[in-house]
């Protein structure tokens, strides 16, 4: 008889299988997938290494290399704390298997330990992939001794443990907060939009600075005032600065005791929280997951079309998952387009000239429009088990689909109007060109919506999970994004070439022509045997 496996190990294996699936050396597909994953991670690490060299060089030129290291630790630390709270809360308190596991004779301590180990190991993997190339990149910019490389694993250990323990302490209040705002859908959309926009803005500003630095390495991207601010901020970035101190052998007599004591303190905090609250919160959350909100409404009478649109809107609005995929991205789109356009225009204008600005704007706008429009590729699939409703109600297929289309149209139209207003206001394009670009993007977004909807009518995928939502990407969405990117390239790059080689006006006519052609084609494709296709949905 074989040795009995410890329950913690069995549960840990279950967590890994759930997250990453099983890898079998006998299965070619599985081996290929694993190889692809390893190569992808390797490529990411190499990319991070080269980006970090540019980043550290930029700071070194301004004489603030140490501060750059503090900032890197700061960002990684903050990221790990925030994602740690989220993943701890999900894995320890929310995950659906808690409900299943609690039915079995498994001790809560075993469940907790296996899930904790899973979190620590995945966190360790993440930190290694991100931090190792950055720290090696630092070493490539300045002289470091061999002991620097020995300290990398120690720094990684602190970077995994301290944020993990902090995340554990904050996971319970975080979970309670999430439960409190769970049904405040408008607030969630606003918060997500702010966070997405903020991250994107910071990312693009940093990218902009790096591009400027690359163009002129003698030029310092930081003014003396900014250098002073960075130095002051880093001086007070406690306890994160001690991780950098440890690496550059600065004030080690303070750095090590602070880091060790902080690890111990947060560990004690975690143990206290777990002992007192784990089981209670777990039970509370299993109850909260199924809970729903109450909203007293009147028996309001609406016209059929508006009622269909209202239902479609509520189904998206009341899902955090769908809201994020759709409304949040639509809200953040103008800001994303503005930043992308500003940087690419600045780059291209210097290299080639103003003739290609229209093409670049179209390319950028069409890429973001594609992402938003791809949501319509799940218009039928999202119905899931409710698909019978669309077949039994006494409303023609054309009207039902038109209600869905109108809602997508309104969202993309508003997003495009705001985008163009921003582009005109910031003088990224002339008014006439901007209106032309709006026409092109709007026509393409209608065409793409119709292509995507048609695809989903012909072949819906009703693989819903959890709260009856589509979580995994389906083929229709992938195809929609593929077609959208192709359209963006054909129109955007084509307009750039024509603008540069012939004239901007000709580029505009070209874009309008292609977009008009696509619009006609999409209408023809969409309406061909539409009723017949509709009748076969879900059969």
């Amino acid at each position: 008889m074989g040795r009995k496996k410890h329950p913690v190990l069995t549960l840990l294996k279950l967590e890994f299988v759930n997250k990453f699936g099983t890898v079998s050396l006998k299965d070619g597909k599985s081996v290929f997938k694993s190889l692809f994953y390893i190569i992808g991670v390797g490529a990411l690490m190499v990319a991070l290494y080269y980006v970090s060299i540019i980043f550290f060089n930029m700071f070194e030129r301004a004489g603030i290399l140490y501060e750059a290291l503090v900032l890197v630790y700061g960002v990684v630390f903050a990221f790990l704390c925030i994602t740690g709270v989220s993943s701890t809360s999900k894995v320890l308190y929310y995950k659906g298997d808690n409900e299943i596991l609690m039915r079995f004779p498994i001790k809560p301590i075993h469940m907790f330990v296996s899930k904790t180990l899973f979190l620590i190991l995945t966190q360790l993997g993440l930190v290694m992939v991100v931090l190792v190339p950055l720290l090696v990149g630092y070493a490539a910019v300045t002289e470091v001794g061999i002991s620097y490389y020995v300290r990398i694993p120690i720094s990684i250990l602190f970077c995994v443990l301290i944020p993990f323990f902090i995340a554990n302490v904050f996971a319970i209040p975080g979970t309670h907060l999430a439960n409190k705002i769970k049904n405040k859908h408008g607030l969630i959309i606003i918060l997500f939009t702010i966070v997405v926009s903020l991250f994107f803005a910071i990312y693009m500003l940093l990218f902009d600075s790096m591009v400027q630095f690359l163009k002129d390495t003698e030029f310092s991207v930081f003014s003396p005032e900014v250098v002073k601010i960075i130095k002051d901020v880093c001086k007070y970035l406690i306890p994160i600065k001690y991780l950098a101190d440890m690496m550059v052998l600065n004030e080690l007599y303070i750095a090590y005791p602070v880091l060790i004591n902080l690890t111990a303190l947060t560990l004690i905090g975690t143990i206290l929280v777990i002992v007192k609250l784990y089981q209670k919160t777990l039970l509370g959350n299993i109850e909260a997951e199924g809970s729903a909100f109450k909203k007293v409404t009147k028996n309001k009478v609406r016209p059929v079309f508006l009622s269909l649109m209202n239902k479609e809107f509520l189904e998206i609005f009341r899902s955090v998952n769908y809201s994020f995929q759709y409304f949040v991205l639509a809200c953040a789109m103008p800001l994303m387009v503005f930043f992308c356009n500003r940087i690419t225009l600045a780059l291209a204008k210097n290299q080639v000239g103003e003739q290609i600005t229209l093409g670049i704007t179209l390319l950028v706008m069409l890429i973001f429009t594609t992402i938003i429009c791809s949501f319509s590729a799940t218009s039928i699939s999202r119905e899931g088990n409710n698909v019978y409703h669309i077949k039994i109600i006494p409303v023609s297929p054309l009207t039902q689909l038109a209600a869905k289309f109108t809602m997508y149209f309104i969202v993309s139209f508003v997003a495009n109007v705001v985008c163009i207003a921003v582009i005109i206001f910031t003088k990224q394009l002339e008014v006439k060109q901007a209106f032309g670009a709006f026409g092109v993007v709007q026509a393409c977004s209608i065409a793409l919506t119709l292509f995507s909807m048609r695809r989903d009518i012909v072949k819906p995928y009703f693989n819903l999970s959890g709260e009856g939502e589509l979580v995994a990407n389906n083929v229709n969405t992938t195809m929609s994004v593929g077609i959208g990117l192709l359209i963006a390239l054909v129109i955007g790059v084509g307009a750039m070439f024509i603008g540069y080689l012939v004239a901007v006006e000709t580029a505009l006519y070209y874009s309008l022509g292609v977009a008009g052609g696509l619009l006609i084609l999409s209408f023809l494709t969409y309406f061909t045997r539409l009723k017949h296709r509709f009748d076969y949905i879900g059969t």
Binding site: A292, K294, T297, V301, K311, L314, S319, Y388, I392, P394
Partner: protein, 254 residues
């Protein structure tokens, strides 16, 4: 009320017909039972008559409207309760019923009167303004029924309506079925439950392998009592007969 003539249905990529030459005629004011074993073709027939599935040949008329030629009017006269109790769970009970009332163009006065009546009858008053995702299995079934009845359909179709319901909920639904027929409407429902069908139905049809075997009038003396034996005789397979012999040997079921 419902007229099915020579219905044939073959699924795409299937070589056999799931329903073959099925004909039925339902009268106003009757409860009609549709009996058959799993996979006999009950749900397929129901999905054809509700417009969910297209069918190969034959005609289906609801209140004189052809489901293929005039689907809007045909569906306007029908209410359907599916076997999976699936409803839009992100909506509240009231929002869901109001959505359907809008779709069936029910006036405000009528929808309010019916809504209040059904909510009271099904004892859902405490939950109508809560999201449906928090409802129990039985509550989902009840809100689905209210949604199907909000336009007071002439034909009410239910697919396995009693599956997984407690005794009290079953009684509430049966009472609603009786009341609906008393108002001159028709109820058509499929079930496995022979005892229930024999108690509530006026007529039943038994289907096996997609073929209609017989239609029995339960008001004819003796038919109610012999329904079970008739059903078993019609639907029994060779394996069932072997099992029965074995049961007889071991004295099971005596």
């Amino acid at each position: 009320m419902l007229e099915i003539k020579n219905l044939y249905k073959k699924y795409r990529n299937s070589e056999r017909f799931s329903v073959r030459d099925l004909s039925l005629e339902l009268k106003p004011g009757e409860i009609f039972g549709f009996l058959g074993q799993n996979g006999a073709g009950k749900s397929t027939t129901i999905k054809c008559l509700t417009g969910i599935y297209p069918f190969t040949s034959g005609t289906i008329k609801i209140c004189g409207y052809d489901i293929q030629k005039d689907p809007i009017n045909a569906k306007m006269n029908m209410g359907y309760v599916p076997d999976n109790h699936s409803v839009y769970e992100k909506l509240t009970g009231r929002e869901y019923v109001n959505f359907l009332a809008d779709i069936y163009k029910v006036s405000k006065r009528e929808r309010e009167a019916r809504f209040d009546k059904y909510v009271a009858q099904f004892k859902l008053g405490h939950a109508v303004d809560t999201q449906i995702k928090s409802y129990s299995h039985g509550m989902k079934q009840k809100i689905s029924i209210i949604g199907a009845l909000i336009h007071n359909p002439k034909l009410w179709v239910l697919d396995e309506p009693m599956t997984g319901l407690d005794h009290q909920s079953m009684i509430e639904i049966l009472k609603r079925m009786y009341d609906h027929c008393q108002e001159g409407n028709t109820v058509f429902f499929s079930s496995h439950n022979l005892d229930l069908v024999s108690k509530v139905c006026d007529r039943v049809t038994i289907i096996k392998d997609g073929i209609q075997q017989c239609t029995i009038d339960l008001h004819v003396k003796g038919n109610k009592e012999t329904l079970e034996s008739t059903f078993v005789k019609i639907t029994a397979t060779e394996q069932d007969l072997i099992n029965r012999t074995t049961d007889d040997i071991f004295g099971i079921g005596r």
